[in-house]
Symmetry: C2
Subunit: 235 residues, 2 copies
């Protein structure tokens, strides 16, 4: 079809699914309370319209920082949502992005089109505006898949950590307990960890501390790998 | 920002990266020769503008069939391309889709905005219009990753096939030879194959034929898995 057939006012938006982890067990997602219609006063993913000369990644980062104060986040494109009736203002296409951050390193401060910005446990969410519940579902599935073929933890753990802390991180994202022995064996075989000294000042038997081998970690992030993570055996 | 700031004419397009396999070794991609400006007479991915009340998946399927005659294809969204200068006509956002088909089952017939539609080996491509070379690169990487966590072959092989044929399919997509013993062991462990009778009327020692277990195949497509595929050992 030619361009002239296409007499419609499209709007292009970006939305951000920012997952946050801390030492708690539940993974969290960053939401804003909308200051403007439609869905005024409702919780939603941070996001907004792309500027005329802005590329999509830049728009997502800008909207995220404007509405929540969260910045310097490595975001990746997730999926584009374009159902004809997804926005009451007209035909608004949303290119969704996602990221996984250490939430203690990313304090929030609501501004712009947001009256409030807060982290919510993904099993304890308010009702979301637009089709944002659908966008969040797609992001959760993608994050789960991502964990299987890319290393995680580099920006989420302290520089030195125990294997238990790393396992807990995987369990938070996957939402299930893992077999301790299998996890350790597989993560060590990947070659991304360097063993350091044992912990000090702990009540229990001190565990070894580890750090990531930055070069190997980056290689595996680019190449991908296959990481079969087994749940604990049924007893 | 509010809607009123957004005074720009966005255009929304879809583009399709259709990979085709046959019994040859090289994977192919479906291209059309553009009948209209811009890039008139150049090869490009099939695609075009989304209609006012059309969802994105439907637009991709419609444009594909209009321009190439290829239909009844299972397409998946790939990525959205929105660099400000990617289209000389203005700010055109392209939501790209991809699929993998048996090209013998999908004869092409050019029409609409296309003067010609042909399959090209991905190592023997003409210069492509717009940023379509970039879109194709992203699709090739995605296909390679997909093979590692979802089964393939259901729609690409005849109902009964040998393990060699299945291995050849993986090798075509991954662009490298695989270790025969490892491949067989891993693919059989996945539980998606059912062993049948041996081949008949072949010159060499007849191999066992297999068929997919449709239920198991579908399960694994939904759940994903981890499939470490090793290259053959160096000698």
């Amino acid at each position: 079809m030619s361009l002239s057939d296409n007499n419609i006012s499209w709007q292009l938006a970006v939305d951000c699914v920012i997952f946050g982890l801390d030492q708690s067990t539940d993974i969290r997602v960053l939401l804003i309370k909308r200051a403007i219609p439609p869905y005024q006063g409702q919780w939603a993913l941070p996001g907004g319209f792309v500027l005329p000369n802005e590329n999509l990644d830049a728009a997502a980062k800008r909207e995220l920082e404007e509405e929540t104060g969260v910045k310097e986040v490595f975001i990746e494109q997730l999926y584009t949502f374009g159902e004809p009736n997804r926005d009451p203002r007209g035909r608004v296409i949303s290119v969704a992005y996602y990221a996984l951050v250490n939430l203690e390193q990313h304090p929030t401060q609501a501004a712009s089109d947001a009256n409030d910005a807060q982290w919510f446990g993904i099993h304890d969410l308010p009702q979301l505006a637009f089709d944002h519940a659908t966008i969040l579902d797609v992001a959760i599935k993608r994050l789960d898949a991502k964990v299987r073929y890319q290393p995680i933890g580099f920006e989420l753990l302290p520089p030195k950590f125990t294997l238990s802390e790393l396992q807990q991180l995987y369990e938070s994202i996957l939402g299930r307990k893992l077999n301790r022995r299998n996890f350790r064996s597989k993560i060590l075989k990947m070659g991304i960890l360097e063993q350091l000294e044992r912990q000090t000042n702990v009540a229990h038997r001190p565990a070894f501390l580890y750090q990531f081998n930055a070069q190997k970690y980056e290689e595996l992030t680019k190449q991908g790998f296959e990481f079969a993570i087994s749940p604990p055996k049924e007893k």
